[in-house]
């Protein structure tokens, strides 16, 4: 079978993205190696999810299952979830509390740092069998990942070449990261999990695309939560891989900006407006919405009073799991917690302004699969890559593909 890819990314511009980049198995395998298992930090969770000693959470980086665990010394370890002996994925629960990791197959025993601490019949039985005389437990631990935590958000990487986390995020995006995560204690509100039949990059693109919210999402345009006539900024790190879309809501309603927008509903009003009972918080420092993408696996959401992390777990070229962790802050009043939960109706797999993102991603994937010779066109605002003071641009998407092309050597 001939594979045209990767040699047919002919365009000099990253504004034309070949469809096979979203569908090709070889491209996908290279992404796993070069991106997810390469020198990049991937999100694994929030520190508040594993508060006590021995608390763990199972999650994924790329397709590899990993366990984030609270060490008795208070630090956080991340180890890969398979036994050094015969490869068994020994942890089958997603959360729990343990003193050590024990593989059920042959009871190999690991401490929470991933060191092998014991195994049955190491010296044989009645002088027979057993491990070789030079068996060294240090050579047979779990795969240990590098771990970094910043203000309650935990990242891990398989690669020793990954730069320090704060350098990786870079000063421009760190500013927006620290606007939400400034060291305040977080409280966990719960999870949503969806499996989206589309390529994982489409979700990064979706949150680097300020063009669509005021068009696809009626709620945004009608109630002024996100649309082209409000002040906004598109910001990237120096590599173009991470981004922040920053904006401030306006009063909504009709006007020049809604004239050609078929999703705008002039007479739409809520029967129960508690869903949009928005109360500005001091830490916003102005913007009502900041959507941050940390390449490759993390999206940070602040949409008015609703805050969440969204994690991308690729599952082949044509699908990914999308895990939402909604949280609040320790000093939230019960009213603020209720408000965050109410506004959560806008987001997630059934959300008024999110369910349709998953749907259009599925439709994009269907288009890519049927016509492999084609390419997407992302030239709103030109072909260059630069920060902007408006939202009528696809610059952040181009920024990501500029970086992607380098890392993937395409």
């Amino acid at each position: 079978m001939t594979r045209h890819f990767p040699h047919d990314w002919q365009s000099a511009n990253v504004s034309r993205i070949p469809y096979p980049l979203y569908t090709d198995e070889d491209v996908y395998r290279r992404e796993l190696e070069a991106i997810f298992y390469g020198p990049h930090w991937s999100y694994v969770g929030l520190s508040c999810e594993i508060s006590g000693p021995g608390d763990y959470k199972e999650t994924s980086i790329g397709e590899r299952s990993v366990i984030m665990v609270r060490d008795p010394d208070g630090s956080i370890n991340v180890v890969e979830n398979h036994c050094a002996h015969r490869g068994v994925k020994f942890c089958q629960e997603r959360f729990g509390t343990v003193k050590s990791f024990i593989c059920p197959y042959h009871q190999w025993n690991y401490n929470l740092k991933g060191d092998l601490t014991g195994l049955p019949f190491r010296r044989g039985f009645k002088g027979q069998g057993g491990m070789p005389a030079d068996f060294d437990t240090k050579q047979h631990g779990l795969t240990k990942l590098h771990v970094a935590e910043h203000n309650g958000v935990v990242f891990a990487t398989f690669s020793a070449d990954t730069p320090p986390l704060l350098d990786y995020i870079g000063p421009k995006i760190l500013e927006w990261f620290e606007r939400t995560f400034d060291g305040r204690e977080l409280t966990l509100l719960g999870y949503s999990r969806q499996r989206i039949p589309g390529n994982w990059k489409l979700m990064q693109e979706n949150i680097k695309d300020p063009y669509h919210p005021g068009l696809l999402h009626t709620w945004f345009v009608t109630f002024g939560l996100w649309r082209a006539d409000q002040s906004s900024r598109m910001i990237m790190d120096e590599h173009g891989r991470h981004a922040a879309m920053v904006s401030a809501k306006n009063a909504g309603g009709g006007g020049e900006v809604t004239q050609n927008v078929s999703s705008f509903k002039a007479d739409m009003a809520l029967n129960d407006d508690r869903m949009l009972d928005i109360v500005p918080e001091e830490w916003w420092k102005g913007p009502t919405v900041v959507m941050t993408t940390i390449f490759p696996s993390l999206i940070l959401q602040q949409q008015v009073n609703s805050v969440s992390t969204r994690q991308i777990q690729p599952r082949g070229p044509g699908k990914f799991d999308f895990v939402w962790t909604h949280f609040g802050f320790k000093d939230d009043t019960p009213e603020m917690t209720r408000r965050r939960l109410r506004q959560a109706n806008l987001f997630g797999p059934a959300g008024f302004v999110s369910a349709d993102d998953g749907e259009v991603i599925e439709f994009s994937q269907q288009g890519f699969e049927q016509d492999p010779a084609n390419e997407t066109y992302a030239e709103l605002g030109g072909t260059d890559v630069a920060d902007t003071e408006h939202m009528v641009t696809e610059t952040l998407i181009r920024g990501m593909y500029g970086y992607y092309r380098k890392v993937m050597d395409l």
Binding site: R94, F95, L188, L189, G190, Y191, S192, R193, Q194, R195, I196, P197, L216, H217, T218, W219, S263, K265, M268, L270, N271, D272, R274, M275, D321, H326, T337, L341, R342, A344, N345, G348, P349, A350, F352, A355, D356, G358, E359, V360, E362, F363
Partner: protein, 156 residues
């Protein structure tokens, strides 16, 4: 022992409820609830751990009407049929109210596709008697389904 006529009335309520949803009569849906009735669709994971986040959490008939408006007029999605199958009901009396628990499976059928299990779990409901007959004061749908297949548009 629940009076057979009460059980019969409850079964009629559920039959009417699923008929409205499965045949696309979404405008009828809020009327199965009392004015300040609650509708909560929540992953079992959150429910079991006492985490409050729900997939859908509506606190009045008004919010339900807004959801229906959203489903019909604002949410862009691939069209699908849904079909509810309910198991036997466990009914308890609680003062003037009735507590009902029932397993459900919802199948989804998209255009040109095979039918698939879309969402499965149990209803944990509180039903009250009103002048208009039995109505839900609270309907909690706790679903086992670990992964939502992309999105949930219609009520369960």
């Amino acid at each position: 022992m629940i009076d057979p006529s009460v059980r019969f009335a409850i079964e009629q309520l559920y039959a009417a409820y699923t008929s409205a949803l499965d045949n696309g009569r979404f405008d009828d849906w809020p009327d199965f609830f009392i004015e300040d009735g609650r509708y909560v669709l929540i992953p079992r994971e959150n429910h079991d751990r006492g985490l409050p986040l729900a997939t859908m959490s509506l606190e009045s008939r008004g919010m339900m009407k807004d959801r229906v408006y959203g489903v019909i007029n604002t949410l862009f999605h691939a069209p699908y049929y849904q079909r509810h199958i309910l198991g036997p009901m466990r009914i308890e009396e609680d003062g003037d109210a009735l507590l009902v628990e029932a397993n459900y499976v919802v199948f989804r059928t998209k255009r040109n596709e095979m039918s698939e299990v879309f969402n499965t779990g149990r209803y944990i409901d509180r039903i009250v008697n009103t002048d208009d007959g039995l109505r839900f004061a609270e309907k909690l749908c706790v679903f086992d389904s670990e992964m939502i297949p992309n999105s949930i548009i219609y009520p369960i």
